[in-house]
Amino acid sequence: MAGLSYTSINQTRMATGEVYCQTLIELAKENPRIVALTADLGKSSKIGEFMKQFPERFYQFGIAEQNMMGAAAGMAKAGLIPFTSSFAIFTACRALDQVHTDICYQNVNVKMIASHAGTSFGQAGTTHHSTEDIAIMRSLANLTVIVPADGIETANAVEAAVEHEGPVYIRINRGYDQQVYETMDYGYEIGRAVTLHEGSDVTIIACGSAVFQALQAARELDAVYQIKARVLDMHTIKPLDKAAVLKAVKDTRRIITAEDHTVIGGLGGAVAEVIAESGMATAFRRLGLQDKFSPIGLHEDLMAHHGIDTNGIVNSVRELMQLDFEEDLDWEDEV
């Protein structure tokens, strides 16, 4: 790619938002069409650094997300590549009409970086938890929806977003992510899941902060319970890597999804649609918020509360292993 290299050392010293900003600064040096927009969250989203480097390519809209999204659409129509930086909740909820009509319907080249996603700003409560945005954004035609697993994958996603023509939503967390990737060279591609752990008993399909937990869970399941779990980092929610899901169904027949998001309509919903349409019997479970608003708390505590930490995933996988499902793919015996 554009010669970017974020080593693991960089990532452990940088919050995911900082990785995003540094990546964008590097890309902007080569691509004068890149501009950055924020709505009084330059400091919180870390994009403020971009302003120092390119003051004339930075636009501050004040606390006015709808106006920012509408203006981003206009800038894209004028030929720029606008990157908006706000919290996920205000991107996907407050500014939704503008995102729907001005950005997605008109199919313009706006890149929305939605930070503080899921329950990563846990202490701020429901007004700041973004636990429906994947479902909302996934339903918008023309939009590519990416949920990176960590900082390195965020750098990859930002780079890929610039190369991709059309609107992109990238959902990142507040603060530091647990590190999944060592380097950027693992063949990141929009719409292509990454197999992080091989297994034949069950497949854990995860996105965002749940990916690290899923990987830990797979290691524990193997070491303690001799359960061989495949782990897919499903960083792109749309277009979903259907082939990877179908292969997992065929190979393992047991699928579990994990996301820091409601189980309705997000990653779990997307995977469920593929499984249902495949006609293959599958033991299946969706982990995430069970149609509830989250309590407040630290991100890691809330992940445990919602059963998407390592323990929660291990327990759910073990339960899933007990579930019965139709063993054969033969429909002849159905009445």
């Binding site: 700041h128 630290l298 509360h305």
Partner: protein
């Protein structure tokens, strides 16, 4: 006059207690919105302890006046009042922001008694306040609705949609207050997104608008009492304040929107607040 002064002294003593409580709560919580809580605390103290009709025994009293704190991130300020009134306990304050606590940064009206709207997403409160006011009129209730906005919050288009509707419906039971501390997150308000001429804007939307010192309880009290007497127009009080008021390292600095403080800083803050209180008491006693 002397009686008037004793009210002001009582209010300052209360505000002083609350200011210290805010600093303590920031420490207990690990971090907090110190700046915006300290800028509004004099106004909100005046509302709760002198102006508003609230029932200390029943935070849900149907006839109580309503307070919509649209700048919901200042929950750490409001919670100290709700604790002082006995609606929540000191234990709630000590676990503010902790996992599983009922009290987080932005107060949840379904969990915290005395919170009339779950705010935190900026730009919602004035519409909710308008709805409460129209609802009260419809149901022939005579409570009043007070809504406090942040100045940065007025960047939001929704605020002006509400302002237009208030100018249109002219509810006589709604008073809009703005914490004009001239600061938001990314900078000073006029650098981030120009608000001036701010007063003219509110006037253009049909409000009788006054600009008052938001740390001068006498002036605010006077304006509120006048507002309640002869409201032929909706009233908007722009309260000029200092973000982080009373604490040397935070006062006037937009960088103190949200953050953690060390024990040393808390000590400084408490000392600064003592000094600030003494100065204010001396002024009140002189008057």
């Amino acid at each position: 006059m002397a009686q008037e002064n004793s009210v002001l002294i009582r209010l300052e003593e209360k505000a002083n207690k609350l200011r210290h409580r805010i600093v303590d709560t920031v420490i207990w919580a690990g971090s907090g919105h110190l700046g915006g809580a300290l800028s509004m605390i004099d106004a909100v103290t005046l509302l709760y302890y002198d102006q508003m009709n609230i029932n200390k025994d029943d935070p849900y009293d149907a006839d109580r006046d309503r307070f919509i704190m649209s700048k919901g991130h200042a929950g750490i300020g409001l919670i100290t009042i709700l604790e002082d009134l006995g609606f929540v306990s000191e234990a709630d304050l000590r676990t503010f922001n902790h996992t599983g606590s009922n009290c987080g940064i932005h107060l949840d009206g379904n969990k915290v008694p005395g919170v009339d709207a779950s705010t935190g997403s900026l730009g919602h409160g004035l519409s909710i306040a308008l709805g409460y006011a129209l609802g009260a009129t419809q149901l022939k209730k005579d409570y009043l609705v007070y809504c406090l906005l942040g100045d940065g919050e007025c960047n939001e288009g929704a605020i002006w949609e509400a302002a237009m509707a208030i100018g249109h419906y002219k509810p006589k039971n709604l008073i809009t207050l703005i914490d004009r501390n001239f600061a938001q997150i990314d900078g000073m308000t006029e650098d981030v997104m120009e608000l001036e001429p701010f007063k003219d804007k509110w006037e253009a939307f049909g409000f009788h608008t006054e600009v008052i010192d938001g740390h001068d309880s006498a002036a605010m009290k006077d304006a509120l009492e006048r507002a309640r007497q002869g409201m032929d127009k909706p009233v908007c009080l722009i309260l000029e304040t200092v973000k982080g008021n009373g604490v040397s390292f935070a006062a006037g600095d937009y960088g103190w929107h949200y953050g953690g403080i060390t024990d040393d800083m808390a000590e400084t803050a408490h000392r600064d607040l003592d000094h600030y209180h003494e100065t204010r008491m001396a002024q009140l006693k002189e008057a």
